[in-house]
């Protein structure tokens, strides 16, 4: 005769064995998952390394230089372009009613105090690649605007309006900008020392020549988004 106690014990044993088996199999399957995850982590790490290497390869300075020469007009920065930081740039704010304000006297003095250099030499560049662009740009008369020699002559004119002023001298016919006589008088000739900060050197005159020289590489500007973007950037409304 089987006693009740024995039955209970047998039941408990059965239940605990079943639970043990279940847990054990769960652990096994979780371990399998873990191994799989570890394997895929290693795979991912490998592919991350490959991509890092590819990134480094694509960022080789020589490759970037070649791409820059081919697709942009950017050139190495010349030391003379580093004269002042952004904080030094005189930037008179327009007054609230839209009338431009005359630069305060302290700003004018500050501009005058900026170092001046001789004619800005074109930055050294490789004779090989990008030479087309350089050749086109070389004979360009460096247009500049001496902002401060007679600041009193045109107090109403903001200091930063070099583009229109330069355009007037280069292409006199389509005078589009409402330029008074005073700014024209302020157009400097090429031999006046340049103040690079105040007068951004924008290649105004031979812009067409530069564009022509670039034509082979930039012919299909429509189907090349970067080219289209750049050509948009290169032709500010004030010039063409």
């Amino acid at each position: 005769m089987i006693r009740v106690g024995t039955m209970i014990w047998l039941g408990l044993i059965g239940a605990s064995s079943a639970f043990l088996f279940k847990t054990s199999y769960e652990v096994q399957s979780l371990e399998g998952d873990l191994r799989g995850l570890n394997r895929s982590i290693l795979r991912e790490q490998d592919s991350i390394r490959v991509m890092h290497a590819e990134w480094a390869f694509l960022n080789q300075p020589s490759r970037l230089q070649a791409l820059t020469d081919q697709f942009t007009k950017l050139r190495p920065i010349a030391p003379t372009q580093m004269v002042a930081s952004a904080a030094d740039v005189p930037m008179p704010l327009p007054s609230l009613d839209g009338e431009p304000m005359a630069p305060p006297a302290s700003l004018v003095a500050q501009v005058d105090a900026l170092p001046s250099f001789g004619p800005v030499p074109l930055p050294a560049h490789r004779p090989g690649e990008g030479g087309v662009l350089l050749a086109a740009a070389e004979p360009m008369p460096v247009q500049s605007q001496a902002a401060s020699p007679q600041p009193a002559a045109a107090p109403a004119q903001p200091v930063v309006a070099p583009v229109q002023v330069a355009a007037v001298e280069v292409r006199p016919a389509p005078v589009v900008a409402p330029v008074s006589a005073a700014p024209v008088a302020r157009v400097a000739t090429a031999d006046v020392p340049i103040r690079p900060v105040v007068a951004p050197r924008r290649p105004t005159a031979p812009l067409e020549a530069v564009a022509q020289a670039l034509a082979p590489t930039r012919a299909a500007a429509s189907d090349d988004p970067i080219g289209a973007l750049l050509s948009g950037l290169e032709a500010p409304r004030g010039i063409r």
């Binding site: 490959v50 390869f57 030391p79 930081s85 050294a124």
Partner: protein
């Protein structure tokens, strides 16, 4: 129970007695049987108990062996200890390790070597089919067929399904920038062990997975290589090299030696391309050494800037020391003018007055008599005269008779201009929070004087073509005849230039050197340093300054001009300079 009862073998004399009664014998037998059953039960229960315990252990706790596996499974996700990366100072990868697959074969298992080799050659066109056939027909059990397959090639080979071929997972060193850093980084052999350059000297650290940041700036490196290459082509030179060093830390920001080599195919056709001119090469630097000669003479107190020395040719034994043609050949000139115009005879007299011992001690102090302490295996020992005679002292005064590596030269010049602290050169990025090792070798005052002198060389001396407006370049040129068997080759020369900028607060030293540049159209028949190495140095400075964010100063800044002005009585009026020697 007794021993007799236990063993149950009728050996005891009592059991053999016939006098025992039957009932007594029966109960003894039953007792024996009972005892035997108890013993067996004990044995069985111990055995089953042990098995049961082991089962519980295996099922509930996973067992010892399994638990060891489980703890190992977790760290397996950490990156395998492959050879670590080398990065430049901005974190760009210069050398890295990528997984790769290599193909090998067990020729015994290959059924048809001819067919196998034909099909392999179709998939891997760069394999030599005849060699593969020979390998596959050999008696060996293991032959490499091709190391470093691409994934696509691996797939193709797998698709062929040739029995006996197998893949081995390996690691392969990869240099994204190729030739650009070949002399600095070096290369590894096919088993990823460093055998040249930093790959060799850092082998242990890299093997242990420790990534290293170099002091090299890849942007500068590329720019310098670009300019150097252009200049070498222009002047039809045999080669050239350039070093840029941060004067305040001793970090080498760029180190280029041309011709260079492809790190994947080292030792190609030109053995010469493996040669690192910056560290392994030692050259007589020519007039550049006058920096040290002048500093030594001024420090010793035997000369001042205004001391006058004779400029007529000096006869020593069968040799004559004279100045470069076009320079003064007679008369008395001040130390200032001697340095500015780079006059040999005046320099020799300055050295004679100071003495050979002082010269030897000074050059030793600047580390010029020992190999440069740089972390490269390829370091050349300087060629120092033995014995250091009076005549050697005279020639060393203008940079002949002693050969040093360009890196040593740059390190010593850094110490001269940075206020007098000699920092050991390094190719590793320094931690800005740590103090830079260094020891004082000259006084800050003397350093200031030397800066003024080096500025004069650029404003009105032999290195005018190195000037960059706004950057206040100071420097010194040197032109030396190339040493040839038993003397000098008068027609071959090495030109070098050491430039410092900005000279009023030096930040960087740029050294350029050209091996046998030729006179070209536009240099009026000259091929001395002022015509090739100095302009190259100027171009490098003009491009590196903006890259590193060095702000130019007003060329007419009175405070700076005042700082760099020579003493009035040292200057000779109407003395033209600029022989560009």
């Amino acid at each position: 129970m007794t021993a007799d009862a236990l063993d149950g073998v009728p050996t005891s004399p009592r059991q053999t007695e016939p006098a025992l009664r039957p009932a007594q014998r029966l109960s003894a037998a039953i007792e024996t049987g009972r005892q035997r059953i108890v013993i067996s039960a004990l044995v069985f229960s111990v055995t089953f108990g042990a098995i049961g315990l082991k089962l519980v252990d295996l099922m509930a706790f996973g067992g010892d062996a399994d638990s060891a596996m489980a703890t190992h499974a977790l760290p397996a996700a950490a990156p395998a200890a492959d050879r670590a990366d080398l990065r430049d100072r901005n974190g760009l990868i210069v050398a890295t390790t990528l997984p790769s697959v290599s193909l090998y074969a067990d020729p015994k298992m290959v059924i048809d070597p001819i067919e196998a080799s034909l099909r392999l050659a179709k998939v891997l066109p760069d394999l030599d089919q005849a060699k593969v056939l020979a390998d596959l027909s050999s008696e060996r059990r293991f032959v490499w067929l091709k190391r470093g397959l691409t994934p696509a090639q691996q797939y193709e080979v797998n698709r062929l399904g040739i029995p006996g071929l197998a893949f081995q997972n390996e690691e392969r060193r990869y240099y994204p920038t190729g030739n650009l850093t070949s002399h600095v980084v070096g290369f590894t052999n096919i088993d990823a062990q460093g055998i040249a350059g930093l790959e060799k000297s850092l082998d242990d650290r890299l093997q242990n997975g420790e990534s290293v940041a170099l002091s090299i700036d890849l942007r500068l490196q590329e720019m310098v290589r670009d300019e150097l290459k252009t200049t070498i082509d222009t002047f039809h030179a045999q080669g050239g090299n350039s070093v840029i060093m941060d004067v305040n830390t001793g970090e080498v920001l760029a180190m280029v030696s041309l011709p260079d080599f492809n790190p994947y195919e080292p030792g190609g056709p030109a053995e010469e391309s493996m040669f690192n001119r910056n560290t392994l090469g030692v050259y007589e630097p020519g007039s550049t050494f006058k920096i040290f000669n002048t500093a030594m003479a001024l420090e010793s107190g035997t000369s001042s800037l205004t001391s006058l020395y004779d400029e007529s040719p000096i006869h020593v034994g069968r040799f004559t020391i004279h100045n470069f043609r076009g320079d003064p050949q007679s008369g008395m000139l001040s130390v200032y003018e001697i340095f500015r115009l780079s006059l040999n005879t005046g320099s020799v007299h300055m050295e004679e007055v100071a003495g050979v011992d002082r010269q030897k001690e000074f050059l030793t102090r600047l580390g010029l008599t020992k190999p440069a302490p740089i972390d490269l295996p390829e370091v050349g020992a300087p060629m120092v005269p033995h014995p250091w005679s009076k005549v050697s002292g005279m020639t060393i005064a203008y940079g002949h008779g002693m050969a040093v590596s360009p890196l040593s030269l740059v390190t010593a010049v850094s110490a001269i201009v940075n206020g007098g602290i000699l920092h050991p050169p390094t190719l590793f990025k320094r931690d800005p929070s740590q103090p830079v090792p260094g020891k004082r070798v000259i006084s800050a005052d003397l350093s200031r004087t030397m800066r003024m002198l080096m500025r004069a060389v650029v404003t009105g001396g032999t290195a005018t073509k190195a000037e960059v407006p706004g950057y206040f370049v100071g420097g010194k040129t040197g032109t030396a005849d190339k040493a040839a068997r038993g003397g000098y080759n008068r027609r071959a020369r090495v030109t070098d230039f050491v430039g410092v900028f900005p000279i009023y607060d030096p930040k960087y030293v740029v050294m350029t050197m050209l091996d046998d540049p030729q006179p070209i159209k536009g240099t009026y028949g000259f091929a001395s340093a002022g015509w090739n190495s100095a302009p190259l140095g100027g171009r490098i400075i003009a491009r590196m300054g903006p890259m590193l964010g060095v702000k130019p100063a007003d060329p007419k800044d009175p405070a700076i001009l005042q700082m760099l002005a020579p003493p009035a009585n040292a200057v000779v009026a109407n003395l033209s300079g600029g022989n560009e020697d």
